[in-house]
């Protein structure tokens, strides 16, 4: 800091006026400084200092409140966006998990059919299908024995047609 205590007045004055005049200026400055020292100004009262400190404390409190409120106003829209995004995310997750549950709950063949000893009593269509498969097994066995013993090509064609029909029945449900 360029404090006035470190300031060489005479040197400074000599840059603007002659040496003799500079000395006279220094004397004027010193004299007035003595006058001011001998006539001190009154000091602020303790009540004033207390009032100033109180006002400062109040002002700092208000500024902190204002800063907090301004921050809250700035963050509110961002927080709102986050809340909306979170809500949408949670909703999508719930939807996804409920879809999985449906798939688990809906197997192609119900557990009662698998566990049943009497399929005919549980599912009539399945009974028909099983009977047809049994008949086909018998016919296939007969054809195999014909093929071994003679010509069975026409019977094999019929069997292929029946297989195709059954296949269609199965996929049409």
């Amino acid at each position: 800091m360029n404090d006035r205590n470190e300031e060489n007045l005479k040197e400074l004055f000599e840059r603007f006026v002659g040496t003799e005049e500079a000395q006279s200026w220094v004397e004027d400055f010193d004299k007035v400084k003595r006058i001011l020292d001998e006539n001190p100004a009154p000091q602020p009262s303790q009540e004033l200092i207390a009032a100033i400190n109180s006002r400062i404390a109040e002002e700092i409190r208000l500024r902190k409140e204002h800063t907090f409120r301004r921050l809250a106003y700035r963050l509110a829209p961002v927080a709102a966006v986050f809340v909306v995004l979170a809500a949408v995310g949670v909703r999508m997750m719930l939807k996804e998990s409920s879809g999985t549950a449906e798939r688990v709950r809906g197997p192609i063949i119900s557990a009662s059919v698998w566990e049943s000893e009497n399929i005919a009593a549980v599912d009539r269509n399945l009974l028909v299908l099983t009977t047809e498969l049994d008949e086909l097994e018998v016919e296939f066995a007969n054809l195999q024995s014909d093929e071994i013993g003679g010509n069975g090509s026409s019977a094999l064609t019929e069997l292929e047609i029946e297989f195709a029909e059954i296949d269609t029945d199965i996929w049409e449900g």
């Binding site: 800091m1 360029n2 006035r4 205590n5 007045l9 007035v32 100004a41 009154p42 602020p44 400062i56």
Partner: protein
């Protein structure tokens, strides 16, 4: 006066919003700045008002202090507050009236209560023009160098020096 390291810590505390550090700042500067205002106005109520205004402004401005001479920074604000005050036409009128009244009372009633006593210096200061009086008081109460005062006043140091010396010489003559 506080050491510069201590003052730097106090200023940092003030920037962080510490009321204790502001109270310390008030302790350090209130006396000098009050003296500066009192010698400029010759009115204790007005000096109270200006000093309160200064510290109130400091709360808002302290974060803009970026280093350098804090005394210079504070007194620049103090001087601006006083000049703002003078620029207010109505208040300036009141100030002149108050000064005239004080001078009149001094003639008819030389000694008032201790608080309200107008010393010889105050009477002679009132005879100087506003700019000269302000310059002398800034020099005496701010404890700033002439170079710093010239910077605050935004004028060449030679100009400041010339005006200051003219005022000081005049005051010396008035007081002798």
């Amino acid at each position: 006066m506080a050491k510069s390291d201590d003052l730097a810590l106090i200023i940092d505390g003030c920037k962080a919003g510490s009321t204790d550090n502001f109270a310390q700042l008030v302790d350090i500067y209130a006396g000098r700045i009050y003296g500066y205002y009192y010698r400029l106005t010759g009115n204790s109520e007005l000096s109270d008002e200006l000093l309160s205004e200064l510290f109130f402004k400091l709360v808002g401005k302290i974060s803009s202090y970026k280093g350098g001479s804090f005394d210079s920074w504070v007194f620049k604000i103090a001087a601006n507050i006083f000049n703002d005050y003078l620029r207010s036409k109505q208040r300036r009128k009141k100030l002149h009236e108050a000064r005239r009244e004080q001078l009149q009372e001094q003639i008819t009633e030389p000694k008032r209560s201790e608080d309200e006593r107008i010393d010889k210096l105050q009477i002679q200061l009132a005879k100087l023009n506003d700019e000269t009086r302000e310059l002398i008081m800034l020099r005496f109460y701010s404890q700033l160098s002439l170079k710093e005062i010239a910077v605050i006043r935004r004028e060449p140091i030679g100009t400041t020096l010339s005006k200051l010396h003219r005022g000081i010489k005049r005051l010396r003559e008035l007081m002798e």
